[in-house]
Symmetry: C2
Subunit: 459 residues, 2 copies
């Protein structure tokens, strides 16, 4: 990652979503951005205006007016990409937007590739690779937890931690390299014991990050959840109770209604993604059916299984038998007694005694469903996240951390087996490489293409 000169290849794209809206914003970035905008703009001379100012006028194709627009100017390096950037805010008509982009292309701009603005920002040192990736995560975030994780990462929290680890390792690496320069003289600038201690310290930190991915992954993608139970235990009622409340909250603010992912529920700021268990639902009229291959696969995808017992039509003996069979099958699950209002006298007390972790409620009563939500949140254990600890949410980072760990283990093994310095140095360099991949000190064209190709156009 180094400071590049401003790109004389000027790119253009629509930065706002496709579709008809009040306004659309077209973004230009590159050395010629301001000149190109000026060439089609009728109003003030844009080349003579300050950065961070807005100008009203018309965009014209020769003498034909295409639209009345507002032009925002950002002069290098005070812009997102650190290049000259112009944002043209025009009427949100597909026709107008297409005409203006086509006109700018005729004036020499090139249609931007997906993520190309963010890639330029990265190449020009605006932020590191992990931060750039967080921009995409932020745009796709649909719950408080995923939003907060992306924002923390975008604002550099995660990068700081990785950079700090890397710097410590770099120091030792340089010592070892120095020893190599002395060749046969058998000096030891870097104490092997100190190095091992450092690596142990690094491994603790890296193991913590690797472990945090379990949480980070569910924060980012939602907690895969299954609601199971015999027919008529109240599975749909429970799901609807969870879904409906969310929908009510969402439709509260006119015009901001979001496209709900089917069967996704936000509880306490965390997304719970209900896996389609059509198969499961149909085959679980006997507990034995959990053994069915297809259903087992569904269960394995789930981080959380809520198993409903029907307190109205089942007695305590039957429920105990059901629980035993499930526990014998080795499937961890949350025991939930439903239809509390219709339970036979004494039954709940008895079950509670036998299963202290069992929850009882009536899925029809919103207040009682709250109890379930609290329990669910306890189960996924957000404390780490709430403490502000760094959480790994990106599978690429997770992979790099695993590789780093392997290389660091190799270093320790090397020292223990008294291999020569050059092998130790190589393993340390390898660790540095993997850590550097996370923040982008080390990149390849393929890696960048892969990361930025997943961005939306105009970003």
């Amino acid at each position: 990652m180094q400071n590049h000169l401003q790109n004389d290849d000027t790119i253009v794209a629509l930065a706002t979503p496709q579709g008809v809206g009040a306004i659309g914003v077209i973004r230009l970035s590159g050395l010629e951005a301001i000149n190109m905008a000026n060439a089609v703009f009728h109003g003030k001379d844009l080349t003579k205006q300050e950065s961070h100012t807005i100008h009203f006028g018309t965009v014209r194709d020769q003498d034909k007016v295409l639209d009345e627009v507002l032009i925002s100017l950002f002069k290098a390096p005070s812009s997102f990409t650190k290049e000259n950037v112009v944002e043209i805010s025009c009427h949100g008509s597909n026709y107008v937007i297409r005409q203006i982009i086509q006109l700018l292309i005729r004036k020499g701009a090139r249609p931007a590739k997906p993520g190309e603005f963010t890639k330029r920002a990265f190449m020009n040192g605006q932020f590191d690779l992990a931060q750039a990736e967080a921009v995409a995560d932020l745009i796709n975030a649909d719950s408080e937890a995923s939003h907060q994780a992306a924002l923390n990462q975008m604002r550099g929290g995660f990068s700081e931690e990785i950079k700090h680890l890397r710097e410590e390792l770099v120091h030792f690496a340089s010592m070892i390299e120095l020893e190599l320069d002395f060749g046969e003289e058998d000096v030891e600038f870097a104490s092997r014991n100190d190095l091992k201690q450092l690596i142990d310290k690094l491994l603790v930190a890296i193991n913590g990050l690797i472990k945090s991915f379990d949480l980070g992954n569910v924060i980012k993608n939602g907690v895969p959840t299954v609601i199971a139970g015999k027919p008529n235990a109240g599975k749909s009622t429970l799901l609807n109770a969870l879904l409906n409340e969310e929908r009510a909250i969402v439709s509260d603010i006119a015009g901001t209604t979001r496209d709900l992912i089917e069967d996704e529920v936000i509880i306490g700021g965390v997304a719970f993604r209900f896996i389609d268990t059509a198969g499961l639902r149909e085959t679980t009229d006997t507990i034995e059916a959990i053994g069915v291959e297809r259903t087992e696969a569904k269960m394995k995808q789930a981080s959380l299984i809520i198993y409903l017992f029907d307190l109205a039509d089942t007695d305590a003996v039957e429920i105990n038998r059901e629980i035993n069979k499930l526990e014998n099958a080795g499937v961890p699950f949350l025991k939930l007694g439903n239809k509390l209002d219709k339970a036979q006298g004494g039954m709940v007390e008895k079950l509670q005694q036998q299963h202290p972790d069992m929850l009882f409620l009536s899925a029809k009563d919103p207040e009682q469903v709250e109890k379930l939500k609290e329990r669910i949140l306890e189960l996924i254990n957000l404390d780490k996240f709430k403490r502000g600890d760094t959480v790994v949410t990106n599978i690429r980072h997770y992979d790099s951390l695993l590789q780093t760990r392997n290389s660091l283990m190799d270093v320790i093994n090397g020292i223990d087996n008294q291999v020569t310095n050059d092998f130790v140095a190589m393993d340390i360099r390898q660790s540095l490489h993997y850590l550097g991949e996370i923040t982008g000190e080390i990149t390849t064209d393929d890696l960048l293409a892969n990361i930025f190709g997943k961005f939306c156009l105009g970003k």
Copy 2:
């Protein structure tokens, strides 16, 4: 329409389309817009910044960062609504957008109704009603012609013409009103002959505008077009030839692909909307089928009927018989001989002699389809539009013009029948009322609600 004070009711809405994109723009308008933005913004003190400047910082809900944003400031009256306006350019995440809007609502902003920003611009004298309506037309424009018509109207061309007519009439109205003040004295400030001459002049202009609506309507909504002919005459081939070319042009610029209205083709900048003639297509295996009620209705919707004759499998006698029957049915149509490449020798020459307006081509040959396009454009006669004459595209304006015409006829009849001054004055006032409705000098809450309610949210 008068100059209102700045509204202390500050409104907020997303101004860009719904959906995930690189950026979203949230718009605030009203007295408190800048203060409200400042209350959630962490960066420079926005209340101390100049109009038309842009500021980078974070939006925070207490100490929780919601996003990194750019804030654009527009101070009253130098804004779209002539009120204080703030545009918050944030990451295009539904979650972020919803959080920021909810936060601003908690700070006292109110969710804007559809079109409310434009309504405020109108109420505050930024433009008149016809211009405000053109904003919505501009956003929905999907062809060069409809875009140009909307833009001309938005930039005031049509309003000028109406205002000019109205001013002339106001002058005479005041004369007549003056006469009324003199009551029985029988003075005549306004010569009845001059008044009749003026009204004749006005009627010529208004009739011209009324007539222009035929063109304006097809410019705005597309020319309703039917492709007819016997089975295998090449109807689908022709439609596909017209559609495919358009699609190729449209998908030329990555990321700006528009949602094509099914079976809409832009020819020479004008939209041609192909009416679903499934019924027609199936029943026209004999010309008599055109008489079928359902099919006739389709035909009546069409401004343009392209009737295909199969030159390969039909001889000149049969084609002549077909043409005669169609002409007897009183349906105007464009005669198109298809499959020119397979026509029998001498047949085309013969038909051309009998029907000089008949066109011959092979629908499979793109170059030959061009000939058809040229002819179609001739038929809808865009000259008036191209000359820059004012064209009425809005059915509300059309209705008001018809009403104005009726009232003006009443004035003339009144004068001819020597009715008393107060009746003449009343009819003139009525004409002024109808003309005033077009540009919004005369409005009612219902009218405004009706017009702005059709706008999209955030406009």
